[in-house]
Symmetry: none
Subunit: 400 residues, 2 copies
Amino acid sequence: MDLKTLKNLTVKAETKIVLLVLDGLGGLPGEPGGPTALEAARTPNLDALAAGGVTGLVDPVGVGITPGSGPGHLALFGYDPVKYLIGRGVLEALGIDLELSPNDVAARGNFCTIDETGRVTDRRAGRLTTELCTELSAVLDSIRVEGAEVVVRPVKEHRFVVLFREQGLSDQLTESDPQRLKEAPLKVEARVPEAERTAGIVNAFIKQAQVLLKEKHPANMILLRGFSKHPTLLTFEQLYQLRAAAIAVYPMYRGLGKLAGMKALATGPTVKEEFEVLRQHWQAYDFFYLHVKGTDSAGEDGNFAGKVAVIEDVDREIPKLVGLRPDVVVVSGDHSTPAALKSHSWHPVPLLLASRWCRPDGVQEFSERGCLRGGLGRLFGKQILPLALAHAERLTKFGA
Amino acid sequence: MDLKTLKNLTVKAETKIVLLVLDGLGGLPGEPGGPTALEAARTPNLDALAAGGVTGLVDPVGVGITPGSGPGHLALFGYDPVKYLIGRGVLEALGIDLELSPNDVAARGNFCTIDETGRVTDRRAGRLTTELCTELSAVLDSIRVEGAEVVVRPVKEHRFVVLFREQGLSDQLTESDPQRLKEAPLKVEARVPEAERTAGIVNAFIKQAQVLLKEKHPANMILLRGFSKHPTLLTFEQLYQLRAAAIAVYPMYRGLGKLAGMKALATGPTVKEEFEVLRQHWQAYDFFYLHVKGTDSAGEDGNFAGKVAVIEDVDREIPKLVGLRPDVVVVSGDHSTPAALKSHSWHPVPLLLASRWCRPDGVQEFSERGCLRGGLGRLFGKQILPLALAHAERLTKFGA
């Protein structure tokens, strides 16, 4: 069902929906024949939700496809992740809480080292300290070029973000990063005629940066890539008639929620604090996206026990959530991150949906094995939100 | 996921993938309440692969759709079988190992009988012997027409293949076969203006054929249909960065592999010999397509026990395959061929995928009933290859 058709089916209601995203939730056995982290975790409260609800397995983007965080989240929010791509520049900007306007072209920057002939000798300038990155970003932020405002902000180590802000700029640009050593940084070129003005602005910026950084060896040059604009998405209010809020510790996930028109609520760093923020704002919104990062971080570190512990942390907060009497609770992830792989993976993600209108599927526990037998079967990520709306009685009949 | 997007995600790796196709693998019970051929067969080695891997059921083309061998295979190779159609002429040419260039228009030919008024009295000329077909094909091969080279090769009984070879020919032609008796062969007509030159060439060929065959009753005329060109497919190397080889006894399956850019390896006629060829060439390729025909032939003959025996033959070779330490093994079929139906059918095909990165699904045997409970769920044929690439760690993340 495409979004436009879905939009035409949405109706107002008093119901509330919670989308609880355990980042990188899906896993693999920690050892051959053993349980996954979700299966190993003691989760009486999630299991009770699963027993009273309905379960399934989700391919966030496609079968066999390993999703980045951007596509994984857009799919959970109901958008087609192949159609609405988020560029690296924009994602990086979201990750440092930088406000993006629809006019901005964002790029990811690296400080790098060039030799006296202008060739790159270190693409990361020896991974300079974040402190030095902050200082040099302030230098670049002072650059003025004709035709656009320029904003430069540090990220971490050698990484920074640059925004070019002016009406009518295009992100259809080639990258300046040659991606290998012993080559000079590339001139940024327009991929389409409409981008020529922007290419000129970007190249003028790079030229000035090189002059300002001349004596800053090893950080004596910059490389820019991932030129991208904010994808223009219809908001949750426009699409689904939902007043939506995002509760996330990391800026990037707040940023993804904001792309969908959610209000990002301030929260402390623990899972407990995130659920407390949910409780405090319960009356003001119809839809809450609550993001838990720890499951993914532990998976990326190969820390199976750590992932189990985060899942158990979340489970302890479930009674608080249930006590708020939400009409629909969805628990899933934006992708799998098995500790065994130490990375995102293509494996389908467990999904549970609890509401008074679920058809029982006999599944008694929230686990990969349980969800494989679930009543929702196998879904694509973008199909979850329509299901949540349906169970919240926020969709009318299709056709007469 | 469309092929272009998938192509952009592929990365080089050292891993090896084996796609073992048991033609017409899926079945129905031999008698009410009984097992299918796959279930009846003793397959300890395939069952062990299933127990350590993950299983599912495949609709090669679509739900309820009975696939021909062409679409069934293209889907297994990752191509959309509805988008990339292989015409009957091309398939027939592949089936006799005839090399096709992108310029060739191929057609399937029948020798037929016409009466003195020119009307068809037998569309198959009394199913003449293959020997006579070979002799008469040589006569037709001597025909010279203005504007194209003509190649005629015998197939079997009344069937032959004709190629029209010249730059710029079109396959958008109507057929000469009236498909019923007591009508005269039809003039071949252009379906689009660009095909008019080709139609003229084909009609000139038919006219000369009729003259040459005048005294050859009952094979005194020909009928042509299935005009088609080689579908231009991106190869396995271009799409997936895979050096791919095809091991198949029958020319048509080698031809299908070659369409996808696979190297067709010479093999003896037995299953054992095919696996021996796999072993001999193990180092030289990243991907092997190994085709077993016997399962389909037995199914087409209604020979349930014969199908069981071929499956057991294959099972005996599995230890040799496992001994090569492939990173991913996929076992499936291009369609079902239940002995009870004596034909291809629409029933979904059992699938097993074994690799170190499979998420356990609890299925202990490779069978229709086992695969119904499998962790891969229900898939379309074209989704198998992305899964194989993912498990072989040959796909990078989609989006940042």
